[in-house]
Structure formats: C-alpha cells, structure tokens
C-alpha cells in the first residue's frame, strides 16, 4: 500500500507535508500522514490547492462528473486533516495555495517547509481520465527533492473513521457559493459618465463615418493621402482611436478605483 522514495533530506524538524484535495484517495494519504506523524513524533502540514483555471463552468462540471468515480467524495481536505489530527493527538497546520499547476503548487509549498517527507494519495485513474489528466501524485514523486510517500487506491475499511469526519465538511458545489456583500452607497453616476465618455469617443467617429460616407459620398471618395480616399483613411484611423479610447478609459477607471480604495 505504501511506497517510499528517498531523496534529499528535509529540515529534520519532524515535519510531514500532506497534499490533499479532500477526495477518498486523499483521505487515505491523510490517515497515513497522521499515523506516520504519531510514529515519528512529527507534526503535519497540509496543503490544498485551489486551481485558478481559465475554463468555463461546463468544462469544470464535465471534469467533475468524470472525476467522481475516482474521487468518491469532495470534502474540505484541510479541515478533515485538522479534525482527524486533533482526535489522534497530532498537531496539524494548514496551507492553501490559490493557483495551479497543482504539482508546482505542492512542490512550492514543500520548498518553503522543507519537510522530512511528502505524503500524497494516488487516485488510480485509468483510461481517458488518466490520459487527459495525468497523475498529480506521480508528478510530485518525479519532481520532488524530498522523500515521497504515496498511498495507492482506496481501502474503504481503512478510511472508515476519517470518512465519517469528511462527510461532515463537504465542499459546496460552485452554484451554492454565494458571496455575501454589504449594501453600501453605490455611486453609479461617475462610473456611467466614464463609460459613456470612452464609448462616445469611439462611437461618434464610428457612426460619423457611416453618415459621412452615405450623405457626402463625393467628398468620401476624394483622395487625401496618395491614392487613399477620405473614407479609407477614416476607416484606418478608427482602429487607433479605439485603442486610445480603451486605454484612456482603463487608466481613468484604475485611478478612480485607487482613489476609492
């Protein structure tokens, strides 16, 4: 069930780093980390990685559905470890990394903590999911300068006690996360003013071109720059005008927001 790879030594201060995402394979690793900490008199640091990915909601949902068979449960990994550590008498310190890639985030945390070992669960993905998602556990093993303990698969009997804890701290689905905001005074007038100014700086010459080339066609076809006529020059000038309007708008809004802050 457990494989060990010896690499460079950690800081020798009795730190085990647990990488967890609150899934069943991660619960295997969590329990193993706590047991190793009890055996070696170590403390456990946990790291959860919240991936910040440029993906749409359906992309995430599709991945979650396909991952379900390998994850089994989606609990708050740090909270489960903390609670299980409290019950077993092991000190647990939690860390959260707010961005991916997941392997890099775990290794980044490890380089700061210099643990004696990293404990991580292998989900045992296979088939398409294995091809498309790879294995974080194997990535950590491959690149870690510290020893890595990897638990394999899911042993339902082994995680029975910790699973009970995990079921009490399930992560909410995306739709259930509703940000609570305080209602204060919102000054929309100035925001609207800035928006309309930027917009009109582009729209007036934009629609102006349409009116001009419709009603003053004879002037529109007059050459102004070599063989380029007025209409063509106007068209080509609208692009840089649009860029300038957008950049000026961005700078004004940024200054306004810094003022509000």
């Amino acid at each position: 069930m457990v494989s060990l790879m010896n690499r460079n030594q950690g800081n020798g201060q009795g730190v085990i780093l647990l990488a967890t995402d609150g899934s069943k394979p991660a619960l295997m690793a969590t329990k193993k980390a706590i047991e190793l900490a009890l055996a070696f008199g170590s403390m456990v640091h946990t790291v959860c990685v919240h991936e910040e990915l440029p993906t749409t909601s359906l992309e995430r949902l599709d991945e979650a559905v396909h991952e379900e068979q390998f994850m089994g449960i989606h609990a708050h990994g740090n909270m489960v470890a903390q609670e299980y550590g409290r019950i077993r008498g092991v000190e647990v310190v939690t860390h959260t990394e707010e961005t991916g890639p997941v392997v890099a985030a775990i290794l980044g945390c490890a380089k700061k903590l210099r643990p004696d070992m990293i404990v991580i669960g292998n989900s045992g993905r296979s088939g398409w999911e294995r091809i498309s998602l790879g294995s974080v556990a194997e990535g950590v093993m491959k690149h870690s300068p510290f020893p890595v303990v990897m638990t394999k698969g899911i042993d339902e009997a082994y995680i029975e006690d910790i699973l009970t804890i995990a079921q009490k701290v399930l992560l909410p689905t995306v739709e259930e996360v509703e940000e609570l905001i305080s209602i204060g005074e919102v000054r929309m007038g100035r925001a609207m003013g800035l928006s309309l100014t930027a917009l009109l700086a582009f729209l007036i010459p934009y629609f102006g071109l349409g009116i001009f080339s419709s009603f003053w066609r004879d002037v529109a076809i007059e050459p102004v720059l070599g063989s380029m006529n007025v209409a063509l020059l106007w068209i080509l000038m609208l692009f840089p005008m649009g860029w300038l309007s957008a950049i000026a708008y961005h700078l004004m809004v940024t200054r306004r927001e810094e003022g509000r802050a």
């Binding site: 991945e63 890639p101 919102v186 930027a198 349409g210 068209i235 961005h250 927001e257």
Partner: protein, 538 residues
Amino acid sequence: MTSIVAMSLVIGLIAVSIGVAIYSRRWSRTSSEFYVAGQNISWAQNALALTGDYLSAASFLGVAGAIAVLGIDKTWDGLGYFGGYIVLLALLAVPLRKVGKFTTSEVLTSRFKGSRSLRFGGMAGAVVISTFYVVPQIVGAGALLQLLMGWSYTLAVIIVGVLVIAYVTTGGMRATTYNQIIQGVVLWSVMLIILILTVTTFFGADLSGIFSIAEGIVPPQLASDLLMNDPNVPDFTQMSASQAVEFVSAKFPMEPNAITPGVFAPDWMNVMALAVGLVFGTAGLPHVLTRYYTVRKPKDARTSTIGVLLLIGGFYIMTIFVGFAAMYLLYPELMNYFLTGQSSIAVNMAVPLLAEKVGGQVLLGLAIGGAFCAILSTVAGLLITIGTTVSHDFYKEVINRNATDRQEVLVAKLAIVAMGIMGMVLGLGLANQNVSYLVTLAFGMAASIFFPVLFMTIWWRRYTRQGALATMLVGLIVSVIFVGAALVGSGAVLGIPVLINPALYSLPAAIVAGVVVSLLTDDVGDVDVFMNRAHGKD
C-alpha cells in the same frame, strides 16, 4: 487544389488541435513549474483565448473574402467586430465580472430572482444567436473542404458537422481555452505572413500600392452580376489579373470602384443598420460573455479586453490590406467562380487562394488548417455555450431542479448534438452566402436580444422584471423576422424595407419596449444588492 504538402499541414494542424484538447489539462495540472495559469499572466492568457474564440471563420475567411469581392463597404465588418469590444469594455465587462454571472439568464435572475420566464427567455435567445453563429462556421468549413479536397459541398458540410460534434462531445469541451489561445496565435501569424509575402512579392513592399490598384477595380461580385446575362463574357481563366481588371473597367466605366462606398450598403439606412448591429452585437454574444467567466479579477476583465482590442484591431487592419490585394491578384479566379456558379468559393475563399498564390502549398496548408482549427474551436465554444444554457438555465432550473451533475452534462451533450445537426442543415441551405455576412446577422440578433436587456439590467435601477422580458421578446421577434426576410430575399415586411442587418429596427424596438413596460410596472427585483455587486468596490 489537393496537394500532399497542403493536406499534410491541414491534418497536422488539426492533430495539434486535438492533441491540445487531450493534453492541455494534464499539462496544466501536473507541470512542476508555475508557467501556466499563473496569476501574473492570466489577463494575457485570457486576451489570447478571447481573441482565438472571436477570430472565427468569419474573421479569417469572411472579412478579407468579403472585401475581396465587394470592396470598401465590407471593411465595416472588421470595424464593427472591433468596435463591439469597446462597447463591451465600457458598459458590461467589469460589472459582469463583479456580478460573477456569465449567461444572460443568470445575470437577469440574479437581479430578478426566481424568474423562470426570464431564464427561459435567456436560454432561447442564446440558442437562436449561437445557432446563427454556428451556421456560418459550418458554411466556411464546408467551402474549405470543397476547395481543398474537391468534395461536393454537401459531403463537406456533413463531414465537418460530424467532426465538430464528435470533437466537442468527446474531449474538446474540456480544453477549449487552451485551443483558443493557440488558434489566436496561429490565425494572427498566418494573416501577417500572407500580408508580408503579398506586399513584398506583388506590391514592391509598398502598402499604399494596394489602394492605388484597388482604385481602378470594379468589385468582382458587382462585375459578375453585370456580366451574368452578357453573351460575350470572356474566359477569365485565360487572363492575367491586370487584363481581367482592365477588361471589366473598360466595359463598365461608370460603375463604382473598390474603394467607393455604396456597393454593398447602398444608402444610409443600410450603412447604419450594419454599423449598429455590429458594434452592439459583440456585447450580446453568449459565447463572448461566457468567456469572461475565466477572467480572474474584475480589473483583469478590463486589461484582457484591451489586449483583445489590440490583437483584433491589428488583425482587422491586416484583413483590409489582404482583402484589397486579393481582389486584384485573384480577379480572374473570383470572376470565374462567380460566373460558373461557384459562389460559395468566390465569396469565402480569397484568403486561402491568396495564400497559395504568394506562399505555395505550404502557406495554403497553413491557411486552410488554421481556418479549420479556428472553426473547430469557435464552434466548440458556441456549442458549449448552447449546452450550458440548455442544461443549466432550462433543464436544471425549469424542468428538473434536482438534476445531478451527470444528468446536467448529459443534457448539455444532447443539446450540443441537436444544435450541431441543426447547424449542418442550415449550413446546407446557405451555401452561397459570405460567412462574414451571416455572422453580421447573428451580431444583429445579439445586439437586439441581449445587449439592451443586459445594459438596462446593469445600469438602470428602475428597470423591471416585466420590462426585461418585453425587451428580449421584442428584440427576438423583430430581429428574427427581418433576418428571415433578408435570407429569403424579401424586399419589405409590412411595408418596412428589409435592410442588410435587422438591428436598426430591432434594437430601438427592444429598448422602447423595455422602457415603456418598465415605466408601467414596478418589480425592480433585488436592485440594491445587485447594483452593489455590479458597481461596488472590487
């Protein structure tokens, strides 16, 4: 046209696209370095992804292709597609990011809580607009395969449709963002290479030389219409470009040249209809709005949009030069395609034909492969948007509130298959239309159905639930009627002239309906919380 080199490049680019679809997510999880999805470059990644999503067949094939056959009037397409992002930046991008909702249905129901009619209206609008956007992509892809493989258009469209549906439902769904980034880079680079080679090879490295020549050309679509029933039409394939241009100009000395406005949009109403539809359409396109879901912070929504403006602005400037250059260099071929009934190639294939002329089979392969991948990724984005709104806004919220994630994904995939098939059927019926023109119609619908309802929901406190519904309904009905009339060639509806874009009628009608109904009703929804969210501090 079929050549081993070009075919290999096309297959290679498609393979890369599918490879990215399979491996990008793995790479983004298991890389041991922070060089992907890092906080510092997220806005740039998003700008490229938005650009790749936006630069579809319409932009790559359609804009330059339309300029090549109709001249200066079709520069409005690129100009409007560009200007639309300024409207989005100034009015909607940041408030939408702050609200955190990216389908129209969700934005509306986060202010007007629990409104099933608004949710359904949002879904219906998204499906109609996205379907109209899918069709031109399939038309473009069909014409590409027709040109490359010599297949019949029907066979080409069926193969494209099946490929796209399979791509999206099996794996493409999960990697569209990374594919969009690559498409953005490929399309931009290929257009630049075509422009540089064209100008250096045929115009003595003088960009203005392109306009000097365009001044003496009668646009091929106009010229072929004039020659259609002429018994003395010469064989254009035996002429050089300059001979063909001189022949037509001598025969029709009074006709407008390529840089004279009025060939496509003959009067102010048509010009303004196109201008309004394009510039307000982007802000109502469901797949563009959805992509803001991927932007990390509200400030990134602005910086990403500015990045997009720089990238697409540069791209559309290039299409203007490429379009006019193609008109001259391909004049005999374009005339021949029109006069022999191959309009679907004439109106859409100027860019690949020019690529072949200036860069041989290698550049032809890159141009067709790049365009094909752009079509794949854009259709993927559109079908995902349709799948999302049908499964989430309709199935989960209206039909089965207890639906599991698995059921939701299944319904999304079924919707994707259904819409893909509908896209194929419509694509078969619209073979001879320029893809950019078809996309401008989708823009007109988006400008009428979604832009006004989003604008008023986000900026007008007095806007009501009933007003929002009236806005969408009127925008949908008026725009669909006039788009249908334009496609069947009807001159007027109830005595009102049919224009090249419905937005000049449907956008004001939608706004007036929303304002009037709002003033007569009083359910302003959860306006305080919503406005705080949309316009409060980051």
